[in-house]
């Protein structure tokens, strides 16, 4: 099969709206769950954020702002995805967060690897992601998987089973978007 045939198949699959729906529910549900886990005990999340040493402790406002708002931003984006509202914006927001999380988690693991001479894949810690203690060699592929799910939503043209897929309809692609 040629590349064009492959593209045609993918497009037809995308047009059914099923892959997008499944991806939205999985990614949105996961972020709502993990966001709630953090939002219920925000001080625990605050302690986790502090352990990354990415944000200065003094003045404390920045650290506290992150701990207070990030879990709710995750819940908000997850809800938008599940409801099918502002899909591209939500997916991009989650993608940016996921890339950021993955970078800081990897940096922290590398720091532990160098300072404590622990084999990289033997490192496990609670990354503050809402899923408890995890092996770093499991966490990174999992995050990459979630990034791919975000990209699928970002690139999908289908708006079937969405409440309000595009808040701002992209002018250049508006002609290509199939009606619901």
């Amino acid at each position: 099969m040629t590349d064009r045939t492959h593209l045609g198949l993918l497009r037809r699959l995308d047009d059914t709206g099923i892959p997008l729906l499944v991806t939205r529910l999985v990614l949105g549900g996961l972020f709502v769950y993990m966001g709630i886990e953090k939002a219920l005990v925000p001080t625990d999340f605050l302690k986790m954020v502090r352990e990354y040493h990415m944000v200065p402790e003094h003045p404390p406002l920045m650290l506290n702002l992150i701990a207070a708002s990030l879990p709710w931003l995750e819940i908000w984006c997850g809800c938008l995805l599940i409801a099918g509202v502002a899909l591209r914006g939500s997916a991009l927001t989650l993608l940016v967060m996921l890339v950021g999380f993955t970078i800081v988690v990897t940096l922290r693991a590398l720091h532990i690897h160098h300072t404590q001479a622990i084999p990289f894949c033997a490192i496990e810690f609670d990354c503050g992601c809402g899923a408890g203690v995890e092996w770093i060699c499991g966490k990174i592929p999992k995050n990459i998987g979630l990034c791919i799910l975000s990209l699928i939503i970002l690139l999908s043209r289908s708006r079937k089973l969405c409440l309000w897929g595009d808040v701002f309809r992209p002018p250049s692609s508006s002609a290509q978007v199939l009606p619901d």
């Binding site: 001080t43 404390p60 207070a68 990030l70 591209r88 914006g89 991009l92 927001t93 940016v96 250049s172």
Partner: protein, 224 residues
Amino acid sequence: MCYARTVLVECVLISAIGLVIGLSANAMYSDGVELGRDYFPRSVQVFTERPKVQENHATTSSSDDDDTLSKDDQDDPLADVVSFLQVQGHQVIRHEQVVAFFEDLFYQEGFYVIIDARDDVNYRMGHIPGAFQCDHYRFKKYVDEVLPICQAAGKIVIYCNGGNCEDSEFVTVDLMDHGIDPGKLFIYPGGMNAWKEMDLPVERGERGSGDIVNGLAVNGDGHD
């Protein structure tokens, strides 16, 4: 270009709304983060020099100097933690002395007070019998109960899980900030883990629940 800009605008709009929702929800949530509060006061030097232990409550058989750990305790696995706490200006107390406090009649009478600085989950899993809970991160919830007790007490032992846990240190700073004499405050570096390892009695559930078991029977190592 227009497409990218549209998606970016959507992303910024969603983030801004999410931020507003987050801060509003946090403000309404009773256990939310207090934005202006310094939750990690350890990095602030709390003393310029190590405080003197008060001499006016000579109630135990040992002297005050015996109550605290010295930097010379080379065999102590917690030596680094002890040194660090002492550099911060805190007083630390030996495991044996905590046990002596616990068994002393003055503990029953409230002259000696033990404070558990851990969160609800850890406290309910098992604490030193009779210890008051005072979670640094929800200090407002406990301050009204704990402060009068600390003001009346002669010596106050504060612990968390032990080792590198910081909560006991933060509660010590909280109590000092609320006017408790630093000379009365002692940090127990071994904490709950050392207490359980020695198979000492552990109370589960609320304070005074009467559900007392031996330390080794309590599962879980706990966490900060």
